[in-house]
């Protein structure tokens, strides 16, 4: 019997209601919602600081209110990592919402244990070096110790257990994206934890599902000319029909816009992948170089022969830290002598900030070199230039003073200069650095709490 996994979220802010037609039309056996990018936890940290009852994604309220009742009625479980930094509060919110709507007998599982911020010192004292994956620097040796988040990428195990214990909704914090989708397959088919080829197949399946729109024609260079742009806000999200041996057909919500083709699948297969022979996850090292893709009818691509190897001994932990603040101003200049005026702007700004502790200043010219840098030679004598200046400081007051001083030159500026009003009125944005490290598997213990309605 084919098991059908739907995907209705690929980032915080995605349109989660696209799960509804999947559920109401009977097209799926379970729906997963992947909400956390590297950036998201740092954003949620601000919410939790302001209110200890927050720190989960707002989308979860929509899932609880609009999707959960329909899914529960049809016994279709929902799985999400949108609990973010506060899965417990998210689960309580979901319980309260369900109770208000009169749902009875509902079981919500809440997975914690990924958040190790409070344990960083203890982990290091116990011998965990927490060395940076990219630079090799040990956490203890890094000068900026202003850590705001530290979350381990958990694997599928706690979700599998929750589903096998009859959870109708599983809410987690940081779980590795594809493991969110692998978990229901293990729970359903009972795959062994060392059946590497099947686990790897589930990971490939999850990897193809986890970015929703990106495998059905969104952000697709290959599909660009086949997609009606008015369809972009209505793309049918992906569904995988998975067999017991791990092979699957990737398709999408029937009767909806978008396309699943060899091209869209190849694009998504390599999205955010480094070594395709060893795509590391907490549960298996998946090999993308042995698999076979083949068309299987309209909007259906069959994926088979995925292989996998032993999972790594370590888990990845992403540690976020506050590294200061940034601010942006955008200036416009027109003919004549545009570059002369840009030079005047730079000198004027440098002089205005002479005694300010500004850390970095970067100029780019929108539409000319802001994307491609030195790949894009600047024209000699353009008719117009849009100059974007980004600058950083350790504190927000410095940035506010910096903006005020530049704006005070409003009538003493290079000729014909204009400034984008929305950038003048904007607030400083935190610069959040990520410190990715490895931690021993044994020191991370996921916990599952059940809440019944």
């Amino acid at each position: 019997m084919t098991y059908r996994v739907g995907s209705a979220q690929g980032f915080y802010g995605d349109d989660v209601t696209r799960a509804l037609p999947m559920i109401e039309g009977g097209h799926v056996d379970i729906v997963c919602f992947e909400a956390l990018s590297e950036l998201t936890l740092a954003i949620l940290q601000k919410d939790r600081l302001a209110n200890p009852q927050r720190g989960y994604t707002f989308d979860l309220a929509i899932i609880a209110r609009q999707i959960l009742p329909k899914a529960y009625e049809r016994k279709i479980p929902l799985v999400t990592n949108g609990g973010g930094l506060n899965p417990q509060a998210a689960a309580e919110m979901a319980r309260d919402t369900a109770a208000k709507m009169g749902l009875h007998g509902l079981k919500i599982a809440c997975v914690t244990g990924d958040d190790v911020l409070a344990r960083l010192d203890a982990l290091q004292a116990a011998g965990e070096e927490l060395a940076n994956i990219e630079t090799g620097e040990r956490l203890a040796d890094t000068p900026n110790q202003n850590f705001v988040t530290a979350n381990v990428y958990l694997g599928a195990a706690p979700i599998v257990e929750a589903l096998q214990n009859g959870a109708d909704m599983v809410i987690t914090g940081r779980v590795a994206d594809p493991c969110l989708y692998l978990a229901p397959l293990i729970a359903h088919y009972g795959w062994a934890w060392d059946d590497w080829n099947k686990l790897a197949s589930g990971i490939v399946c999850g990897h193809l599902l986890e970015c929703t729109g990106q495998v059905v024609g969104g952000n697709s260079l290959a599909a660009m000319n086949n997609i009606n742009p008015r369809h972009l806000p209505h793309l049918g999200y992906p569904i995988a029909n998975v067999e017991a041996d791990g092979s699957f057909v990737l398709t999408k919500m029937p009767g909806t816009p978008g396309c699943v083709t060899m091209e869209t699948v190849k694009e998504q297969l390599l999205y955010e992948v480094h070594d395709p022979r060893s795509y590391l996850t907490p549960d298996v090292a998946a090999d993308f170089t042995t698999l076979r893709l083949s068309p299987d009818g309209e909007n259906r691509i069959s994926v088979s022969r995925v292989t996998g190897k032993l999972r790594p001994d370590t888990l990845k932990v992403n540690i976020g830290r506050l590294e200061g603040y940034m601010r942006e101003l955008i200036f416009t200049f027109g003919y004549p002598e545009v570059w002369r005026k840009v030079d005047m702007l730079k000198a004027m700004i440098a002089e205005s900030w002479r005694d300010l502790p500004i850390r970095r200043v970067e100029y780019s010219y929108l539409g000319m070199n802001s994307l491609f840098g030195s790949l894009a030679p600047l024209p000699d004598d353009p008719l117009e230039v849009v100059a974007r200046v980004l600058f950083t400081a350790d504190d927000t007051d410095t940035l506010k003073t910096a903006v005020r001083r530049v704006m005070a030159n409003g009538l003493s500026c290079p000729p014909g200069m204009s400034v984008s009003g929305t950038t003048v009125g904007a607030e400083p944005r935190p610069v959040l650095g990520l410190f990715p490290a490895l931690v021993s598997r044994e020191v991370v213990t996921p916990e599952i709490h059940y809440i019944e309605v």
């Binding site: 260079l221 999205y271 893709l293 994307l371 790949l375 950083t392």
Partner: protein, 100 residues
């Protein structure tokens, strides 16, 4: 002729590391890419946009190459001062390469 005539692809980010898939439009194009689109050539093409090393991986099964570009995103999405801090446009930057 541009690389875009032979291939399409997508860029992704992890921290300050970018990856770009280059997916051949035909089996013949894949043989050409495999023979001539080396990691060194890609590194040279990007100039100061990519500060670290470039590593190439081959996927014969889907006729694609995957390039991993280290230190390519000015510190990554959360710190980058670039307007495209996620490097979404970098696939296009590679496909812009002259090809003859």
């Amino acid at each position: 002729m541009k690389l875009y005539d032979l291939a399409y692809g997508r860029a992704g980010d992890k921290g300050s590391i970018a990856n770009i898939s280059v997916i051949a439009r035909s089996p013949e194009a894949y043989q050409q890419l495999k023979a001539r689109l080396t990691a060194e050539r890609v590194k040279r093409h990007f100039g100061d946009l990519v500060k670290g090393e470039v590593v190439r991986y081959e996927l014969d099964n889907i006729e694609a190459l995957n390039f991993v570009l280290h230190d390519a995103l000015d510190g990554g999405a959360t710190r980058s001062l670039r307007i495209d801090g996620l490097g979404k446009s970098l696939a296009g930057a590679l496909l812009y390469m002259d090809w003859d």
